[in-house]
């Protein structure tokens, strides 16, 4: 046996510059583990919960001219503090057809775009997962590559492809095909969402697919399943967690998407992100805009919770 050092010589004392800090914190009952947990909690509190509370507060105010452009919630008059909550912004969301239509339209567009992204992304993720090892990282890199360019620029570049005298129409023109109107349509919005959110679909799908044991596919084939059946009964069910995760990552941001519909969509492309923008900046109606934002949060949070529950059920299996 070879000892690393002679046991009779005490190991050199390590200098611990944090010792004093650690002891001080321990005196007030804070351990290192707590610190690690507290840091993200503080972050969430300051940058998420507090702003959310502010938005929620504004949504219960009324529009007024001046600064800030909304009525205060708390007023004090002769020692009486009065809390005024205006619910009319929320009531308006239901009574004015515009908002309901915008929510439904956003969900519809986001849902259709998610399905298209899934249909496009699944084969790509599958191909990457089954590619030879040396290709896999290169292919993954290519998937992530668009992120190196600004999102705004990429969406703007799409207009160059799809506009009346854009690349696609010029190419079609070579064959004598009349230019197709693509810009300012829902089609362009779908193209934009699918294009920008594709990596968010591919990456979670890839991670589930690459983990699947190849011998499962072989076992399926061995038991008489044609490739299509192996896909339907083995690959697809086992990649469900990836499908759910990828769809969530695409669907949720797509609902509130503002840049893509305003750059690529037409006037009839109704999405809640644009309504929100108009309320804030065109109508300067902060309380209404805040109410729209809070309602949007609910629209997004509910499907997340449902999907997470579904995912939990799948994982449990």
């Amino acid at each position: 046996m070879t000892a690393t050092h002679d046991p009779t010589i005490p190991p050199p004392r390590r200098l611990k510059p944090w010792n004093a800090v650690e002891k001080g914190l321990a005196r007030v009952g804070i351990t290192g583990r707590m610190l690690v947990l507290i840091a993200p909690l503080i972050w969430l509190l300051v940058f998420f919960l507090v702003p959310l509370a502010v938005v929620f507060g504004i949504s219960l105010a009324n529009k007024q001219f001046g600064r800030p452009p909304y009525t205060p919630l708390l007023t004090s008059e002769e020692g009486t503090v009065q809390l005024t909550l205006h619910l009319n912004n929320y009531i308006r969301l239901f009574t004015d057809n515009l908002y309901v239509a915008a929510y439904l339209s956003s969900i519809r567009i986001a849902a259709i775009a998610t399905i298209i992204t899934l249909l496009v992304g699944y084969p790509m993720a599958y191909a990457i997962a089954r590619a030879p090892d040396r290709w896999r990282n290169i292919l993954l890199m290519l998937v992530v590559l668009p992120f190196f360019t600004s999102f705004l620029l990429r969406v703007y570049a799409l207009t160059g492809f799809m506009r009346g005298n854009g690349v696609i129409n010029q190419f079609l023109g070579l064959f004598g095909i009349e230019p197709i109107v693509m810009m300012q349509t829902d089609f362009a919005v779908y193209v934009g969402i699918v294009y920008t959110y594709l990596p968010f679909m591919i990456l979670p799908l890839y991670t589930t697919l690459v983990k699947l044991d190849v011998s499962l596919f072989e076992a399926s084939a061995d038991l008489g399943a044609r490739p299509i059946h192996t896909f339907l009964f083995v690959t697809l069910p086992l990649s469900l967690p990836g499908i759910i995760a990828g769809s969530m990552l695409v669907f949720i941001p797509a609902i509130g998407e503002f840049v893509i519909p305003s750059l690529l969509g037409g006037p009839e492309t109704l999405m809640i992100g644009r309504v929100l923008w108009d309320e804030f900046f065109s109508a300067t109606n902060w309380p209404r805009a805040s109410a729209v934002a809070v309602a949007m949060l609910l629209v997004v949070v509910v499907p997340i919770m449902l999907l997470q529950r579904a995912q939990g059920a799948v994982v449990e299996k």
Partner: protein, 384 residues
């Protein structure tokens, strides 16, 4: 646990009578290359109905590749594979009358035990009631009646192994391929399962081809063994043939332990051969003719249990077959003791002796000078 010979009628050892028996699986000159690497090289092999054939070899010997070609997961680079008289070389796995039990079991994790077993039957479009009946039958066969509703991750290793076996048997395949079927089980469970496997194989009469690296497993299971080395078949034979009559130095060393001695032929007669071995420090007298030439250099292999130790010099045979040396090591294994004898040439022989006397005070011990002797047919003469 291989079949007792007396249980076998003559016709159940069809490989002994190749003229009148048609092989069930016929592998002809099959080679498989992965890029520049030759995984399987010119293998020809006939396997008969109801055999339990073991492909035995170390890692990288090509045994698994050969099995995967039988299942259809790999296509041979050249050569043909016939199963039951039909050419299967280009047939995809889902159209072969063959099922495989995977080393990892490859149970579908999202399906219950019942669904796993029913999977192949459903693909064949059998009626529901028939599938249910067959699944039940198989659960009884592998003694998992109460586990049908469980998911694979709720089962122990041994139970998973049995589900995998049931699933592979569900479609009544003509040929069942087993890739290291007992590899993931612990020793005790493995011994029990070996027995079960042979019982099920006999009961159903299915032809089994088992791939294993464990020679003990091959010896206990197989009716015949194919020893593979570097993509080629080194020897095919019944377990006793492989052990007692190895055809090459590789087989002799790979199966069991063997003392290998180099020598030169000094007498080459039709009824006996004499080999001069400077390593042994004596001549070897072999009591049968060998296909060799005088002065040819060859090898002679002998199993440790085929030799006898003694303190007094034995008579020997025709002035041969007696070596002498000093006891260097003793490994006491309970039933037997293995002695390592250092000969004068520096060569070491391993000799095992049965411990038939309890706590024998007169047992041969360290540093004693002893004589080693053996019978005229105890060893194998190997020319390759």
């Amino acid at each position: 646990m291989a079949k007792k010979p007396q249980q076998l009628a003559i016709d159940t050892r069809p490989w002994r009578d190749t003229a009148n028996n048609k092989p069930f699986v016929r592998i002809k000159n099959v080679s498989k290359k992965f890029g520049d690497i030759i995984a399987v090289h010119e293998v020809s092999l006939d396997i008969y109905k109801s055999e339990l054939f073991c492909l035995l070899g170390g890692s990288g010997s090509g045994k698994s590749t050969l099995l995967r070609m039988l299942a259809g997961f790999e296509t041979p680079t050249s050569g043909t594979i016939e199963i039951d008289g039909q050419d299967m070389t280009e047939v995809p796995p889902y159209n072969r009358p063959v099922n495989m039990m995977f080393q990892s079991y490859a149970l579908f994790p999202h399906m219950s035990v019942e669904q796993n077993i029913a999977y192949g039957l459903k693909r064949d479009g059998l009626p529901r009631a028939e599938i249910a009946a067959r699944v039940n039958e198989l659960l009884v066969l592998v003694k998992l009646q109460d586990y049908g509703k469980r998911k694979p991750h709720q089962l122990s290793g041994g139970q998973r192994q049995r589900v995998a076996l049931a699933r592979a048997l569900a479609k009544r395949p003509k040929l069942l391929l087993l890739d290291e079927p007992l590899g993931a089980l612990d020793k005790k469970l493995r011994e029990e399962t070996q027995f079960e496997l042979v019982k099920i194989q006999e009961q159903l009469g299915v032809t089994f081809i088992v791939v294993t690296h464990d020679q003990e497993e091959a010896m206990t299971l197989a009716t015949r063994i194919g020893v593979m080395n570097q993509g080629e078949i080194a020897m095919i034979g019944e377990p006793t043939d492989i052990y007692e009559f190895p055809n090459s130095r590789f087989v002799a060393n790979f199966i069991g332990s063997a003392n290998m001695v180099e020598g030169v032929v000094s007498e080459d007669e039709p009824d006996h051969v004499r080999i001069r071995s400077s390593e042994l420090g004596c001549d070897i007298y072999v009591g049968h003719g060998v296909d060799c030439a005088p002065e040819q250099r060859l090898w002679w292999a002998i199993r440790p249990e085929k030799m006898v130790l003694s303190r007094e010099q034995p008579a020997g045979l025709h002035g041969a077959n007696v070596a002498t040396g000093i006891v260097e090591e003793i490994a006491y294994l309970g039933d037997i003791s293995v002695y390592q004898i250092a000969l004068e040439s520096g060569k070491r022989l391993r000799v095992s002796q049965t411990n038939s006397v309890r706590g024998n005070p007169d047992a041969i011990t360290w540093d004693e000078t002893v004589y080693v002797t053996w019978d005229e047919d105890a060893g194998s003469v190997l020319t390759s």
